[in-house]
Amino acid sequence: MKKGKFGEYGGQYVNEILMPILIELEAAFEKHYPTAEFQEKLNGLLKDYAGRPTPLYYAKNFSKLVGCKVYLKREDLVCGGSHKLNNALGQALLTKEMGKTRMITETAAGQHGLATAMAGNVCGLETEVFMGVKDIKRQASNVKRIKLLGAKVTPVDIGMGVLKDAVSDTLRKWTTCSQTTHYLMGSTVGPHPYPEIVATFQSVIGKEIKEQILEKEGRLPDTIVACGSGGSNALGAFRPFINEKDVKLVFVEGGGESLEADNSAAAFKIGKPGILHGAVMQVLQDENGQIKPSRTRAAGLNYPGRGPEISFLVNSGRVKASYAFDKEVFEAVKVMCRTEGLIPALETAHAIVYMVNHKEEFDENELVVLNYSGRGDKDLETIMRYFHES
């Protein structure tokens, strides 16, 4: 397969201004990432700043409920509350290596924006975060966090004022400052080399899962379940298992209110291949190729595209795609709260829905790892409002 291509997916569909920067980025990544020096810095930060390795927790009460053995990979315990920092720290270090002094990015749930601001401060880099006006409103607490850390939050009010629009605007901004500024892509999307870089930095999740499950159970899991939109936490968990053909991989995307809703976020169910934000991906679009906005209550899954690699893996049958509806998601939050005392992020709760909905399919000895991508603090208001109103 050509570099940066995953079957028909991937590529570098950006304008000429950015191409040389992407080439530079790829070269920098290939040069620095494998060095012992870079690895030492990265692993140092992952361990001491981010709190890795994260536990693989045997969720006894939840297991009982779903009738098989479920381990939670606790990315919620990563500093900042989600897996996003794994990647942000890596790219921040890379930014330093490239001699750039600033980072820009976009964020929806705010988790990636927060991670970027944290990584920026640790590495002494200025940061600017683009965020759709709608997301600014519904993820208010993360906006506060980001601002408190001293990052600039730039509201994006074009389009629907959500992630898709924020990515577009960040790309535009990047064309004006790419020589001094790194675009810290937050998921396994965008033009090559981003999907590769992000997946590589996130693979620490899967590497740990492998070690930990072997230590705890002496065997690989039967199934790994992860939520996602761009796919970074899922690929992070899946990558070391892709060649382990006996390990079933399940990706759960946002179903929104219903599949019939014009703007369900379930791109694998109702989207098709298309080109957005620099790559061919599975993407929600109308019959003319106009990208459709997605809609789910989980801001972090509210993106119309699926990254090239996860698109390819689903398309080729290696990964099973599923989806969860908003209503189920809120109920799943409650289930996890009550059984294990953990408030999951709305995104993460999508993976929980999968387990609850497929109870009958698991037998009691089945070993499932659920990539518990983040904690629900950022969603607290939304969750409380949902249960209050409904």
Binding site: S168, L276, N288, K292
Partner: protein, 273 residues
């Protein structure tokens, strides 16, 4: 008229070319047609005919709003292609360069799409999010259908890449003078002029400079620096967007503006050494 003949004609006349950029369908189709007529009658040599896309990442706020309005009003790629035909039906013979983002041809099939615009009367296509690295299909299908894929060159373009682009390009080269997106800018800065000169060293192919040009002076400067013409787009949208209820009322102002910018292209040509 094809592009080659147009450039020859202008060379003979000693003029720089002016290519205005219009997104079709904003605020409605009929206005776009009248806008195009106005532009052509008052100085446009080549027409950049934009097919609106939902996520125009190479465009600034003016053209983003333009696309959004056109799409909201129901414009589709198919109707745009019909629109090219209508332009031709109105007797406009200037070369037409279609601009759109790659997802539009991608979902129709690139060859299919190029055949359609060729058939409707276009000569070339600009796809800002297709760099040389991803251009194989566009090049192959362009050759088959007789549509020139137009490539862009930016200040960030390395010498290496410049050679590669020059190698595969046909029709003309689109020189992006500034790092950024489309949209009106106060001053052009040296970067555009420098880049035009740099590119000129590598090729005799026509060069059109764009991004940020909105005045006679700017047009004149880029042509004087060696470009074969100037592109302006948001400059025109900025005029009619002030009166979206009755955009026709702005056509006289647009006529004056396109005349001035064309005048700049002519003047600049005279200052070339």
């Amino acid at each position: 008229m094809n592009l080659e003949d147009k450039f020859k004609e202008l060379q003979k006349k000693g003029e720089g070319a002016h290519m205005p950029h219009v997104y079709y369908g904003d605020p409605h189709e009929e206005f776009s047609l009248r806008l195009i007529e106005t532009l052509v009658e008052n100085g446009a040599d080549i027409l950049e005919f934009g097919i609106p896309f939902s996520d125009p990442t190479a465009d600034g706020p003016t053209f983003q709003a333009v696309c959004e309005r056109a799409l909201e009003n129901g414009m589709t790629p198919t109707r745009c292609i019909e629109g090219i035909k209508k332009v031709r039906e109105r007797g406009i013979e200037n070369p037409i360069v279609v601009t759109t983002y790659y997802n539009i041809p991608y979902v129709t099939g690139v060859g299919n799409f190029l055949n359609k615009i060729k058939e409707a009367g276009a000569q070339a296509i600009i796809v800002p999010n297709v760099p040389v690295e991803e251009a194989d299909e566009l090049l192959a299908e362009g050759k088959k259908s007789g549509i020139h894929p137009i490539f862009q060159i930016a200040p960030t373009t390395t010498e290496d890449r410049l050679k590669k682009i020059v190698d595969i390009a046909s029709g003309f080269l689109y020189v992006i003078g500034v790092e950024g997106v489309t949209g009106v800018r106060e001053s052009l800065g040296d970067s555009t002029l420098k880049l035009v000169k740099r590119v000129r060293k590598h090729t005799d192919m026509p060069l059109l400079a764009g991004f940020g040009i909105s005045t006679r002076k700017q047009a004149s400067a880029v042509v004087a620096a060696g470009a074969d013409g100037a592109i302006a787009g948001s400059a025109y949208a900025r005029v009619y967007e002030k009166n979206l209820e009755k955009p026709e009322e702005t056509l006289p102002e647009i006529a004056r503006l396109v005349g001035q910018i064309k005048q700049g292209c002519i003047e600049g040509y005279g200052q070339r050494r």
